[in-house]
Symmetry: C2
Subunit: 254 residues, 2 copies
DNA sequence: TGTACATCAGTGAACGCGCGTTCACTGATGTAC
DNA sequence: TGTACATCAGTGAACGCGCGTTCACTGATGTAC
């Protein structure tokens, strides 16, 4: 590493300096152009050379802003995770105080709406892993971003849902996981409230996992077009899932 | 199109002729080599030039067997759909006569096992659509292949599950779809039996759709590694889904 | 059984393409004294 | 306020690479009479 190496990875020291502001602006424009290519032709269509051309720059100029193609993809993936999580979080705040069953449907609908509005970004984080791309460690945590609000909603179950039997093993696993991992307890507490009992938290985690799998499954089939030729409204399918889950976890309806 | 054009798309007229048998064998070897590359580096790693090299052939030789890269991909996708459907169908036959709830879990487990055994093939049909690739019309029907056995199992619900309310809209949609589309009725009848009532068929279709979304969601999250760092057994999550669905559709347990 | 012909598998050279990335550089912008 | 220097954005040429696909061809295998 000589001193000529561009400091693509180094964070700006003074974020408000005019040069750094310009820098951030260009970075954003690069990502935006990349997203346009992603929308058109998928991940493989995201090419530094073409991004540069679209922006009226020469190819090597982009190396001032990203160390390479992988770092650009990492940024896009990070953004997508955060954006999806923000969409769900916004929905949670808009329906705070309403019955839990209503909140569950609202969260699921918010996630679906986000995915349908930008299928390419959804597929970037939920579809096939990008070939030859190694996810940085911090994206592992980020992937759980959209899950938090679901934990909060499903932890409100008045009685432990475990008594039905089917969910007991899963709840037990979540209970052990939360007990063993302080970071998970903290994270869950942000959504359940600090006063929630360990049982409620474990129930919330298990329910969120079930909800996540159901919502992701439904939305993913819809986004990838696998419902083509089938006579149903995808929204009705999603609602059947959330309704049943609400019933199963005895979420408040009124 | 001159007469020199290779008849890559034309089916062999006499499948038992020695030349045609050799031809089929080479076609199979090409696909097998392509699958190895798919497993290593994803769809983008499937390249005619490299397949040829791996087989000890020159690149253009492959054009005797496939009209181009897209046709090869189509063949791989078709095979994957058929193979997945066969895995589920085999499971159905092995557990015929057992309680419906048991069958549902067996089908789900079979699908999961198939996907885990060959994640790349699963992602080929269930992950992000291949960029720039246009699916031939016949794959749309093939995509429903693994769904049939689920229809059969879930149509055995003794009472219409619609009474719970949550599933009523979906069942109504399936009912209308089956009523309007003879091909769907025929297809469903292969699994429900011809004597099944329209209500049972509609219930089976709705249940199968729910099961499909749940299984796909769970398996897809597992295959793409999104459960990394979470303290649960993916199989337990899948079983919680099928158990609850069996309860909801009142499937026989004994 | 032999001969003439048609079919087919496979080759090697060549096409144009776009890609990620490195390198040495120019000129503009900011900073320290 | 002016001057000397450091930092940074961006350029143009070049690298090697692998890709899909076309083309005119050679030689082996099958087929009709």
């Amino acid at each position: 590493m000589t001193s000529r190496t561009p400091k693509a990875t180094a964070p700006p020291r003074t974020p408000s300096s005019p040069r750094d502001r310009y820098r951030e602006q260009t970075r954003a424009e690069i990502k935006q152009t990349a997203l346009a290519q992603l929308a058109e032709g998928g991940v493989e269509a995201v090419a530094l050379t073409r991004i540069a051309k679209a922006m009226g720059l020469s190819g090597p100029a982009l190396y001032r802003y990203f160390a390479g193609r992988d770092e650009l993809l990492s940024a896009l993936i990070r953004d997508a995770y955060d954006d999806a999580a923000a969409a769900v979080e916004t929905a949670r705040q808009s329906c705070a105080g309403r019955p839990a069953a209503v909140q569950l449907t609202a969260l699921a609908d918010a996630f679906r709406a986000w995915a349908l509005a930008q299928p390419h970004r959804y597929l970037l984080i939920a579809g096939s892993p990008v070939a030859g791309y190694q996810a940085p460690p911090d994206t592992v945590d980020r992937a759980r971003g959209a899950l938090g609000p679901f934990v909060g909603v499903l932890a409100t179950s008045p009685r432990p849902a475990a008594e039905s039997g089917a969910d007991a093993p899963l709840i037990a696993e979540m209970s052990a996981w939360a007990a063993a991992t302080p970071a998970v307890r903290e994270w869950a507490a942000r959504y359940t409230g600090a006063e929630a009992s360990p049982e409620a938290v474990a129930t919330g985690l298990a329910g969120a996992l079930l909800a996540w799998a159901q919502v992701h499954g439904t939305v993913s089939l819809e986004v990838t077009g696998q419902f083509t030729g089938m006579g149903h409204d995808p929204a009705a399918l999603l609602h059947a899932q959330t309704e049943a889950l609400a019933e199963r976890f005895r979420l408040a309806r009124e």
